[in-house]
Amino acid sequence: MKRFIAVLLAAAMLPLSGCAPLSLTGMLPYAREIEDMELVRTLGVDGDGEGVTVTGSGGTQEGENANLVTGQATTISAAVLTMQSQGSSYLYFGHVGQLLLGEELARRGAKDSLDYVLRDVEMRLEMALYLVRDGTAEAAMEAAAQDGSATDRLEALAEDVGLTADTTTRSVKDVLADLEDGGASFAPAISADDTLTAAGYGILKDDALVGWADQEAALGINLILSRVDADMVEVAPAGQASAALRVVGARSVIRPVFEGKTLTGLRVECRVEANLAEGPPAVDDQRRQALCDALAEIERERIQAALDLAVTYNADYLGLCRAAALLAPWHKQALLDGVEMKDLTLTAQVEAVIQRSYHADG
């Protein structure tokens, strides 16, 4: 007991010894009271090649208009330090949930920004990544802060992914892993106006933004990723009344196409499930088949649009080869080593099924 008390007292006295590097004070975490902090919840990074502008959106109260803090410097770290010097509260980045990259910065290269998130002790790799289309992150966040905050808008957008089928969320970790594995990736895009609405996807290749996947191609990406929970598609089979179909699910597999031992292409096989939402009831098989065929064609075109972008930019931004290698692991080497997307024929094959109708007649 005496020995225990002696050790305890000695440990308590250690910080007073003056030997800071040797004492516990050098090892212990640094205390900072939560009430002295301002939680940054959305971070925007812009750059014009000469410097970097970092914008933080946060606040201490839920639901109030966001406080914006901006810092400019030649590096992100320095810009963040500049932000810290503004105001009395400590800006805490441990709760950043969204990272916005301006288009110009993304076109010049997104790797530095993503690397900063990777290295920073406070930030999490799980934060969602968005690319601001036709504008800067700062402008978008300022516009959103006029009534609410960018955080609220983006959180609502993420929560509504299943309902709108506009876009899906991607974390910094996902994008970094894709860039590391295949040299290309994609991230959801948002408009630069105050509404921060979904604007398709941005395609990243070699760490930089190379192009956008617009409405149809964006929906095609969702289909390839099997991430469609609810999407309304209006179809008009030849010679029949039009109908609105609610796509409630999609399941895709990517199969490699070989000629002999040579990889010649990839085929996306997608099964789409839909319900008849509006229009005359599908009373017979012929009507139902016509609706299915029409839906399959529309969805095939969407997938093909997304695949065409991979060929156009010569970037496997959807990880098609990796997905195909999982399905045919014996061809793993051929699928993962030095494949050029522009040399492959990418095709889509869609099967549509109408499961039920919301109509009272069935």
């Binding site: 007991m1 516990l24 212990l28 975490p29 640094y30 205390a31 900072r32 009271e33 939560i34 009430e35 902090m37 939680l39 919840r41 606040g59 201490t60 109260q61 839920e62 805490y92 441990g94 709760h95 949930g97 406070e122 999490r124």
Partner: protein, 503 residues
């Protein structure tokens, strides 16, 4: 060798306490200035006519017994009158001429003195070096009633009382097995308290009985006036705040412990029964667990374990997260805490420690005051002062909630001693967490685990069966209660001689 003994035993207990031959004068010397010491001459008629001397301590004997069992036969018994010598009369009395159930021949002053204190009366015969001692003690005691501190919903209500012999009789009524053994020792130089060791022969590990007996034999104290006078001497209590001996007011629980293979201990003057060995899990079992549905009992036991962790770690985790690891708090909760702590002048660690202290003070005040006032103090302290402190921005509501939850969770502990130990460690954890965050909390937790792992109760590791393999289905005895018909064996950690408890 002698030096060594003097060093370890500076004030050895004198055995026997009173040397010398048994004489009336010797007893008078021992009980000089004792107003309750009474001597009375008794004339013995007949052939061996002489005057006997009776002595006793007033208040310790029951007068009717003295009159009816001793004096009346002395005056009326014809057989005694026919005895030729005093020695013959003495032998006849010892063999049943007097009506007492208990009679003993005493030859030493020491025995006689302690007999008098225990409620015996002594009869001296002229010319004889020995005396006869008759038990005529009063048996004034509180009547057997329901336990005050252990609620009985379904079960026996004959709680232990202060009288040792009454308690052993209660146990005998519950455990009618003739194999129930009761050994007795006297503890305390001044109190000379009787301490009984109870066990069931053929079930209990004899080593446990011997160990307890040895511990009791080694106790050399003034008196047994509080429970700690025995508890702290038979277990390494100076090393830990955690209880290592289980006590109960309930005789049924005590007997259930004996039938499991544990050793029981009853102390004269203390209305409690002690059970050894006791491990951590025993203190988280409530007496009514075995009267409830096994599902309910298991759920409640799990809840108690959760509450134990909550009361222990919640303040420390709060301090660590709010001061050091804000990233661990969900964003919306963090925003709520920030809003709640705005304008509060104190640091979170200080707030928690002060509130924990305030909680302890309120609790202590409530306990020390009479019940009606105590409740008022608790209400005023808890509600009025608490809400006023929050409104005045002296403490934040979040801290108040954290401390209150931790405090209330502590009340779910069936054992007050365990609850007290957890409170002490809660402070330590909160202090270290406020100094070094989770790092400190983990160090304190590691210290706690090491501490608990180092404890033993009569050779049984305290963390049995969590940290020690204690055989098949060991956890069901302290953690999960399976349906009673399925619990076939006694706890293996107790090394019972007969492991099977039912068909």
């Amino acid at each position: 060798m002698r030096d060594q003994q003097e060093k370890t035993v500076p004030h050895p207990r004198k055995q026997p306490r009173y040397d010398g031959p048994l004489t009336m004068e010797g007893l008078e010397r021992i009980f000089s200035d004792c107003v309750d010491f009474t001597r009375r001459p008794v004339a013995l008629e007949g052939e061996s006519a002489c005057t006997l001397t009776m002595c006793f301590i007033s208040g310790m004997v029951r007068m009717e017994r003295v009159s009816d069992y001793v004096l009346k036969p002395l005056a009326e018994d014809d057989g005694l009158r026919r005895c030729a010598t005093v020695g013959e009369a003495m032998k006849r009395m010892e063999e049943g001429a007097l009506y007492n159930l208990s009679v003993a021949r005493r030859s030493t002053l020491d025995q006689a003195a302690f007999d008098l204190v225990a409620g015996w009366c002594l009869l001296f015969f002229p010319g004889e070096r020995e005396a006869l001692s008759f038990f005529v003690g009063t048996e004034e005691k509180r009547s057997v009633s329901a336990p005050d501190n252990e609620t009985v919903l379904k079960g026996a209500r004959d709680a232990f009382v202060e009288s040792l012999r009454t308690n052993t009789s209660i146990v005998r009524r519950h455990l009618k097995a003739p194999e129930l053994r009761i050994r007795e020792q006297t503890v305390g130089r001044q109190s000379a308290t009787l301490v009984d060791i109870l066990y069931i022969d053929g079930i209990t590990d004899p080593a446990l009985v011997d160990a307890l007996e040895e511990q009791l034999r080694d106790i050399d104290i003034d008196g047994v006036f509080a429970t700690g006078n025995i508890e702290e001497y038979i277990v390494p209590a100076q090393r830990t705040p955690f209880p290592l001996v289980q006590y109960t007011e309930r005789s049924d629980r005590f007997c259930a412990g004996l039938s499991e293979g544990r050793v029981g201990m009853l102390i004269d003057g203390i209305p409690l029964g002690y059970l050894t060995p006791a491990v951590l899990g025993n203190f988280l079992q409530a007496p009514q667990d075995k009267s409830s549905s096994w599902l309910l009992a298991t759920t409640l036991t799990l809840l108690r374990y959760a509450c134990m962790l909550l009361t222990l770690f919640l303040p420390a985790l709060y301090v660590a997260m709010v001061t050091f690891h804000q990233e661990m708090i969900p964003t919306k909760l963090a925003l709520s805490i920030i809003a709640a702590k705005q304008d509060v002048p104190f640091r979170s660690g200080f707030e928690v420690i002060v509130l924990l202290l305030a909680f302890e003070i309120l609790q202590e005040a409530g306990l020390r005051l009479p019940q009606s006032i105590g409740q008022t103090v608790s209400i005023i302290g808890g509600l009025v002062v608490g809400s006023a402190a929050v409104e005045a921005k002296i403490v934040s509501p979040a801290v108040l909630i954290v401390v209150a939850i931790a405090g209330i969770a502590g009340y779910t502990m069936p054992s007050q001693e365990l609850s007290g130990a957890l409170r002490i460690w809660r402070f330590l954890l909160a202090l270290l967490a406020s100094a070094a965050g989770l790092f400190g909390a983990i160090i304190a937790t590691a210290a706690l685990v090491i501490h608990l792992a180092g404890l033993e109760s009569f050779g049984v590791p305290y963390l049995t069966p969590f940290a020690v393999s204690a055989g098949k289905e060991a956890r069901e005895h302290v953690f999960l209660r399976r349906p009673l018909p399925q619990i076939k064996d006694r706890p293996p950690a107790l090394h019972p001689l007969n492991r099977r408890k039912q068909r």
